[in-house]
Subunit: 199 residues, 2 copies
């Protein structure tokens, strides 16, 4: 039976558990070894290679499912951020939450970027991006973030800086311990209007 | 005779002119059509396809030569920036110069990124990066740029923000006319210490 014809409710419980286990270990396995093979990922999930291929016929499909899963978990965490109080404090919370997730899933994202088209990667990020846009729009309205830069641009800069920090950590040019502070200071600096031209 | 054994002085003048013409039109041709084929690039340079293949046996070699050429031109322009006066003004000059070049060569860089390993792309950027690092280190020493962020990070952010703006322009989310201002405001904001915590 072709994969697309199989109704979701028809997957037996153990198959669902296997699928979830495979998706979850993929991120961790790639983190330890970005070149991890499909048999290695299957072994880490405690399933046979054929079981893995039954769920994910290609490496691209596995990476896409793992990335979607990581982003959903992020979305659940970001969804708990309340847009109340000082927008700068909420931005700091968002940065700290996102950084942990991006740092954990850096190897997965790098692997996915090699296999999936950029438009698909962007699509997967859409919900998280909407959450960031909502926060930044609110902060601009509150006068906490500069409104002379388009909100789309602030969203892009947030993404670039957090992912850029992950790349710098991977390259050994930034320590993981320092990354969160560096991201925070960079974004708050960029998004907060300077009150004096000179100082 | 193998390519590497051929002494540079032995290339005849017209072959040298052909090579230079091919390299120069590559950037412009890709800008009009990022998918431009080798025969189209040869036609734009006014040479035959076999002449082009004689200089650049693969698409990757052509893209590498064109990217190296664009970066050398950038380096010559950046090399004229004097590190005197207010570091913020020199940063603005550097941004304006770099932006024109990055915007012109966006399609070339995207094509090169598909064909060349990231380490090679980074290597080609090394001289331009050294110039940016020199300016930012000087500005930190002068107290114009915040010194609580590592200079390597400031270099990365400069690169990310300029290239990110080029991607946003390509995606239609930022107008080319607004890009230079947006880059400038973002980087000056990020690199300039906020004097007051709240305002």
């Amino acid at each position: 039976m072709a994969r697309d014809e199989r109704p979701k409710g028809g997957i037996r419980a153990d198959a669902r558990r296997n699928r979830a286990a495979i998706v979850r270990v993929t991120i961790e396995t790639l983190r330890r070894n970005p070149e991890a093979s499909i048999p290695e990922i299957a072994a880490a999930a405690g399933v046979g290679r054929m079981t893995l291929y039954g769920h994910f016929p290609t490496r691209a499909e596995l990476l896409e499912a793992a990335l979607a899963d990581a982003l959903e978990r992020g979305e659940r965490t970001l969804g708990r951020l309340d847009l109340v109080g000082d927008p700068r404090d909420v931005l700091v919370q968002l940065i700290d939450t996102s950084w942990v997730l991006v740092d954990e899933s850096r190897a997965l994202l790098a692997a996915a970027q090699k296999q999936l088209p950029p438009a698909r990667i962007r699509e997967l990020h859409e919900q998280a991006e909407a959450r960031v846009r909502e926060l930044l729009t609110w902060g601009q309205g509150e006068g906490a973030f500069r409104a002379d830069l388009p909100v789309d641009w602030l969203v892009s800069v947030t993404h670039l800086v957090i992912h850029g920090a992950a790349d710098e950590v991977a390259a050994g040019r930034l320590t993981p311990d320092d990354a969160s502070r560096v991201i925070r200071e960079t974004l708050l600096g960029a998004f907060t209007r300077r009150d004096t031209g000179d100082s």
